[in-house]
């Protein structure tokens, strides 16, 4: 187990180095001169003299690899550079926004699990009945809905037509409800379908039939054996959805004006504020790989067969 974790951490380090390189390369290759972008973002008139000085200040006259090395070294120490727009630290901006995105992401994840897990159990147990067909149809429709569309439709029907909820989200539970629902509906569709398949697979295994013939209560088998065994795959599915959450948060936060990472990134794109975009991409990739590493380790921890290998 220790050896496995060490190996995975080494792999993770390699991936993160490559990710940082690619992120840096993306900004390096971006059309236009970064010094001009910075001056424009700050609203300073661009003259040749100012430009030369800014370029030298930013280190843009050095070779690519030296620039990357310098940047990566700073990133390692937690310095993601300064925003082009207002000169404040990117790490600070991300830190401030992170709480909001975490609240939104965890809220929608909790909502998705709360809805999809019981429903998946229900459809699996009632396989090939009307309940199963109806729920599967809903899961299919939910899975085909882009989240920006859900947001707009929810806003229209709940805020504009019936005035049940406020249009602009505040930090209250009521304000969180709409963005979290918009983010979780496609997730519910996907979860429901994948969880159902997993539970059905477990139910078809011979240990279930064995336990049944030995007279073990159905509820006991379901909650102690089937759900326990299914939890490994469920964990993996949830872990992988973190990537979708990051992408979805950009859309949802922009629509609902939720001051999280996604809104920050979108504002940065509008302002051509490269360091902030860079920070956001790097941060979300790092969190994504870390979460997947943790799920993999948890996987090993839950499953005694894998643990012994």
């Amino acid at each position: 187990m220790g050896k496995y974790i060490a190996k995975r951490l080494l792999h993770l380090a390699g991936i993160l180095i490559a990710v940082s390189f690619l992120t840096f390369l993306l900004m390096y290759l971006a059309p236009g001169d970064a010094a001009v972008k910075k001056l424009n973002a700050q609203g300073i008139a661009v003259s040749q003299e100012v430009l030369d000085r800014t370029r030298a200040d930013m280190g843009l006259d050095r070779p690519f690899l030296v620039q990357y090395g310098d940047w990566a070294w700073k990133v390692l120490r937690g310095d993601l550079g300064a925003s082009f727009k207002d000169g404040t630290s990117v790490a600070g901006k991300l830190g401030k926004a992170m709480g909001y995105t975490a609240l939104l992401a965890l809220g929608s994840l909790a909502l998705a699990l709360l809805v999809s897990l019981p429903l998946a159990l229900l459809t699996a147990l009632k396989k090939d009945t009307a309940t199963d067909y109806i729920l599967r149809f809903f899961s299919f429709v939910a899975n085909s809905l882009p989240n920006f569309l859900i947001s707009v439709l929810l806003m229209y029907f709940l805020c504009v037509r019936t005035r049940l909820l406020p249009v602009v989200a505040d930090k209250s539970l009521k304000g969180l409800l709409l963005p979290a629902a918009a983010l979780s509906i496609p997730m519910i569709g996907r979860f429901l379908r994948q969880f159902r398949a997993e539970i059905l697979e477990q139910l078809g295994k011979s240990y279930v039939a064995g336990a049944c013939t030995r007279g073990v209560k159905g509820r006991y088998i379901l909650f102690r054996n089937v759900l326990h065994n299914a939890s490994i795959s469920i964990l993996t599915i949830v872990g992988l959805s973190v990537g979708t959450l990051f992408g979805g948060s950009v859309v949802i936060e922009t629509i609902f004006r939720w001051p999280g990472l996604g809104k920050l990134a979108m504002d940065a794109i509008t302002n051509r504020d490269y360091p902030v975009i860079q920070g956001f991409v790097l941060f979300s990739a790092a969190v994504y790989v870390l979460v997947n590493l943790v799920t993999d380790i948890a996987y090993h921890w839950i499953d005694p067969r894998v643990r012994q290998e």
Binding site: I15, L22, L149, Y156, V160, G243, T244, I277, S284, Y288
Partner: protein, 277 residues
């Protein structure tokens, strides 16, 4: 046994219906310029935010443009871009994956490590960053989605080649002295197309949602070119005055994505392939 046969027949019928629906959508998108009741880009100050009528079947938007015509032209953008994108990433990823699986060694390591790195980015995050930096436009939006899209096919093709490589018929083909290219194309490819095709067909809907999402954010397909995501985004502020300007492209998006997703599912059932995702 009989039930299984029945199910198979039912699946086939379902597949034919869905294939014709998808074909109809593609045909509609090709013929769109001939079918539009009005000029999709013609603005009119006299017909702003008008309700659906005989002249404008789905009403007009805030500039007085005919929504029906724009939805039809938007079909062209959305369906064309998604299908092309899937085709390009499919070919690119499959070729890379097959070469990696067949030759192994350094080529394999290089391709798979590259795929690992691209998979470390959440797809939409990288797409938003790439599209945001490159600026709007359909080509850039497709590029942004495609940057990570190929990895799916590369991994799948590689795994398939590795599994099939040991089969007797592949060894037989090798013994006859055929080169790598004919074996890969004539012997291996036909045997691994099923799972790849299933994945490609499910990806059409995903890519469509992705491109529409980028356009919605204003970093994908840009005005005045008609696209469903940007139409919804533009009409959103006027939703109280002209809900049809949002609802028509919304319905078109949902319907199209559902048809292509259904097609993917059905193909999976018919070919009896375990989904990679």
């Amino acid at each position: 046994m009989k039930e299984r046969k029945n199910r198979r027949r039912r699946n086939r019928t379902r597949l034919y219906i869905l294939l014709s629906l998808a074909g109809l959508l593609i045909l509609l998108s090709i013929l769109a310029p001939l079918l539009t009741p009005n000029d999709p880009n013609a603005t009119s100050a006299l017909h702003m935010n008008e309700a659906p009528s005989r002249d404008f079947p789905f009403g007009t938007d805030r500039y007085g443009r005919c929504i029906c015509s724009r939805v039809l032209m938007g079909a062209r953008t959305s369906i064309f871009s998604a299908v092309t994108l899937v085709a390009v990433t499919f070919v690119f990823g499959t070729v890379l994956g097959m070469l990696a699986g067949w030759f192994g060694g350094a080529a394999d390591t290089a391709v798979m490590r590259l795929a690992d790195v691209f998979l470390a980015f959440p797809q939409m995050v990288l797409a938003i960053a790439v599209a945001g930096i490159l600026g709007g436009g359909m080509f850039n939006a497709m590029l942004a989605m495609g940057v990570t899209g190929w990895t799916l096919y590369a991994r799948l093709a590689r795994a398939q080649v590795l599994a099939l490589k040991k089969e007797a018929y592949v060894s037989a083909a090798r013994l006859t002295g055929q080169g790598a290219l004919p074996i890969l194309l004539k012997t291996l490819l036909p045997n691994m197309l099923g799972p790849l095709a299933v994945n490609a067909s499910t990806q059409i809907g995903t890519m469509m949602i992705g491109i529409a999402g980028l356009s919605f954010l204003g970093i994908g397909v840009t005005e005045p070119q008609a696209e469903w995501g940007s139409m919804i985004s533009g009409a959103r502020a006027y939703i109280q005055l002209a809900p049809w300007a949002v609802l028509a492209p919304a319905a078109a998006t949902i319907l199209t994505v559902m048809i292509f997703n259904c097609l993917g599912d059905c193909l999976r059932d018919v070919l009896d392939v375990e989904g990679a995702r």
